[in-house]
Symmetry: C2
Subunit: 346 residues, 2 copies
């Protein structure tokens, strides 16, 4: 029996009247501010419970805080991001903050629109995961609202960053493949069309890490990179291209698991077997990689930890806007599975 009548919202005034105190008093209790006696707190809490009062975020937003944190994810379909997100929400579970996700921001323009909409909603802070906006724009945003950037290898005085050490991650893969005896190790990278912030993006750092590691092993002349995107389709076309080489590589290092998926598909369609004919490694160690039918060797970058750290930094920055900015860099680990093995005997 739900009432069909649209009842008026219970406000702080109703609570105050019911508890026989002033609205100021109620507000103080709500924010557990200074100047409230235990007796008054009890009265107010009782009234809140009686009336089922809930503060209006809109009204709060107009005055300052909204107790809302925004997270921007570039692509929810990529299973790595849910992990980061879980880290974020878990860390904030028993705080007063509510996390809201702004989905689907492919490209710089859509990203700017999304960020603007979070600012419009006066969120208390935002976490941007692998944003593609130019550095200057990010600093501008961070000047307006406390911001934590995840995945960009940038350093700024006004925003904090959390990132995986992608140079080290790429090196782990190359080292592993070299130790198995591979020399012709190719890389599938994600290439942005926007050139603005290119060297800060994780994908570019991974490619650079690949180059550095190859040189370190004296394999400079074997460096072979195809530029596509971190998507299944991108991995597929990238691998196709590599398989068509006169001397095809014996191992493919895809910059993301999702691209590795596409590569595996292309390889299987070409009638080749993994890892006997060709080895494949990915990056992100998504749940997909762990699945035994796939068993993809991959770099684990602790998405959960990244998310948790980002949430912690954001809360700290909200509390102390002028605190020094910090950069957290997490060390990845390699998870060796079935898609990598010694190269074919030739």
């Amino acid at each position: 029996m739900t009432r069909p009548v649209q009842q008026r919202r219970v406000t702080i005034v109703d609570v105050a009247r019911h508890a026989q105190v002033s609205t100021t008093a109620v507000s103080k209790v709500l924010r557990n501010a200074y100047g409230t006696s235990p007796a008054m707190r009890d009265k107010v809490h009782q009234a809140i419970a009686d009336l089922g009062y809930r503060p209006s975020a809109a009204a709060r937003g107009l005055r300052g805080q909204t107790y809302t944190l925004g997270v921007m994810v570039p692509d929810i379909a990529n299973p790595f991001f849910p992990e980061v997100l879980n880290g974020v929400t878990n860390r904030l579970n028993d705080s007063d903050y509510q996390v809201l996700l702004a989905p689907g921001c492919a490209g710089e323009k859509a990203e700017a629109k999304t960020i603007d909409s979070m600012i419009d909603r006066s969120m208390d802070g935002i976490i941007l995961i692998a944003p593609v906006s130019p550095r200057a724009h990010l600093e501008h945003v961070a000047g307006i609202v406390p911001t934590v950037i995840v995945g960009r290898h940038a350093r700024s005085t006004i925003f904090d960053t959390v990132a995986d050490d992608d140079i080290a991650g790429a090196a782990l893969v190359v080292d592993h493949l070299v130790s198995l005896g591979h020399r012709r190790i190719a890389h599938i990278e994600h290439l942005e069309t926007e050139p603005s912030c290119i060297e800060e993006m994780p994908n570019m750092v991974r490619a650079e890490g690949y180059r550095l590691a190859m040189r370190r092993h004296g394999l400079e002349d074997q460096i072979d990179i195809v530029s596509t995107t971190y998507t299944q389709a991108g991995g597929y076309t990238g691998a196709r291209e590599l398989l068509d080489r006169p001397r095809r590589p014996t191992a493919i290092f895809a910059g993301a698991d999702i691209a590795a998926m596409g590569a595996l598909e292309a390889i299987s369609q070409a009638g080749l077997s993994v890892p006997d004919d060709i080895s494949v490694a990915g990056y992100d160690n998504t749940t997909f990689a762990a699945f035994s039918q796939v068993s993809l060797t991959s770099v684990d970058q602790a998405g959960w930890q990244i998310g948790a750290d980002a949430a912690r930094l954001l809360v700290e920055r909200i509390a102390h806007r002028e605190r020094r900015s910090s950069q957290i860099k997490l060390s990845p680990t390699l998870v060796v599975r079935g898609t990598t093995g010694p190269p074919p005997a030739r």
Copy 2:
């Protein structure tokens, strides 16, 4: 060169002054309301552009609309939901609405908290994907804010629903397996702990569809259901249990792809091969199922379409609160792939 000074927000008053009109006039132009001349519109738009004005969602919320729609997803890690979400966002792409996602709501209590927080933020409408709250609570919510429920087989006068025809979907799988010659077809279901709304949930409807189809084929005595959850771990333990049966089934129909993943893993660990020893089918046709290494036979329930329909209904309901409610039921299709085949010769 970002200004370090924290400049005051540009408000409608600033725009009005700059355009030499009243704030009311600006407000009217913003909402393209009645009573604005083309000349005034131009002046105001120019001023908005000059000053880079953006309306404050908080202030708007206090007065009524926020141009924000909330979507609750039970589990972002399940790759089916991103598809629904894409349908939603795509449909709303060039509307004035911004979609925000409330993540991670396992269980009735967390769900209630999430829904409350969306109401607190005075969202204009909400889409609840596969909510577990009791029917009465959903109706209560729908009385406060326009609501579309996705996935529940419920009928209400105040909220709209979009759902897949799960009875038909389950039948597709059973029919397919029977036509291949299977008789011992088992089902892995997701069983809620909360008994309140059980018969409305898609998982229960799928199980019921399985039962009906089995009976229709005269296989009533072969009905075999294990109750776990729609997770990888749930599928794994469910399959383990089925494999331990004295006479193990020749086919397993998992109620969700993600559970089918776990089942495949258990089967492979048991040293059995798919589909020669045992067939497996899933539900949702996630991108994962399409992947050639997995090649999972699955029921496609057009997540994109579901999301798009939900978004359309929500926008319509916001425009006409008192409109009759509608229930959209979409017909699933079966995608046959490599994990189903004839039963072993015995």
